[in-house]
Symmetry: C2
Subunit: 135 residues, 2 copies
DNA sequence: CTATAAAAGACAAAATCGGTCTTAAAGGGC
DNA sequence: GCCCTTTAAGACCGATTTTGTCTTTTATAG
């Protein structure tokens, strides 16, 4: 249960790589992929989707590449994870009320809500900047 | 991310149903399945696997059926979930050290460990007895 | 105009999910 | 010993998701 997919893992590695870039420089997808050990075309897809939501900026052509869309201190791990995996949802019954006929009386439901909020809290309190500090 | 499978959800429903049984009585798989809204043959598989690990006891033939293997106060939600879904593992790098070449220096790793321990703590502190109290 | 690099989208193998179906085995009542 | 009931075991299966690849297009710098 609760396993991050490779896509999620790769996304985090890519974002952290970009956070470590020295200011003003851009990174080629080939460079990021090799350095993080991620299949290049797969990572490209992920970063493209990030570009669409503004999490990263991208430039085409000679001298192009990727940079973060915001300072790493303003990006949380939660944001990155949810951008690729969707919202943190320990159980289906959390998204829509009508998901489960028992949801009104169910005592398990609140437990899943607690799990959800704890995970959101943990991941939301970690910034990409912190994660990029190590060597 | 982090979604309980139907199998996990069904397992919980089945166990709670058994916990509500009045002492001394057994439940037919057909009865449990209908009452919890779970496909019967699928639930049978789940409970069979539970019988193997002693979480429930089963009896064949006339008058047979399922009962809990232990008092519901001694069964945690964590146990039930892990029995069907495997251990709580937010990321692959948690199971074996050799899972990731970066694990020694990685700053994300500890975050996943925190998530893991929090979830284990929450699910481990809820007993099936508590969950079966409602109507 | 050309070389470069990301964007877009079709394709697909493999794994996992969410079951079903059939046959066997065990136990109770007669 | 013979049914009837009920779980056990295992083969099987379609749908979906994961984890990518490949090809073509578009934008840009020089
Ligand atoms: S039974 Fe409870 S926990 Fe399960 S899906 Fe319904 S509301 Fe959620
Ligand atoms: S990079 Fe860090 S979080 Fe990702 S798999 Fe490796 S150790 Fe785990």
């Amino acid at each position: 249960m609760m396993e991050l997919t490779r896509k999620g893992e790769y996304a985090i590695r890519g974002i952290i790589y970009l956070a470590r870039l020295k200011p003003g420089s851009v990174a080629l997808i080939s460079e990021i992929a090799e350095s993080t050990g991620v299949p290049q075309t797969f990572l490209a897809k992920i970063l493209q989707s990030f570009a669409k939501i503004g999490l990263v900026n991208s430039f085409r052509g000679t001298g192009g590449g990727f940079v973060l869309g915001r300072p790493p201190a303003k990006i949380t791990l939660l944001e990155v994870v949810e951008a690729v995996e969707g919202p943190i949802m320990p159980n289906r019954c959390m998204m829509d009320e009508s998901g489960c006929e028992f949801s009104r009386t169910c005592l398990v439901h609140p437990v899943w809500r607690e799990v959800q909020s704890k995970v959101v809290q943990i991941l939301g309190s970690v910034t990409i900047e912190e994660l990029s500090k190590g060597e």
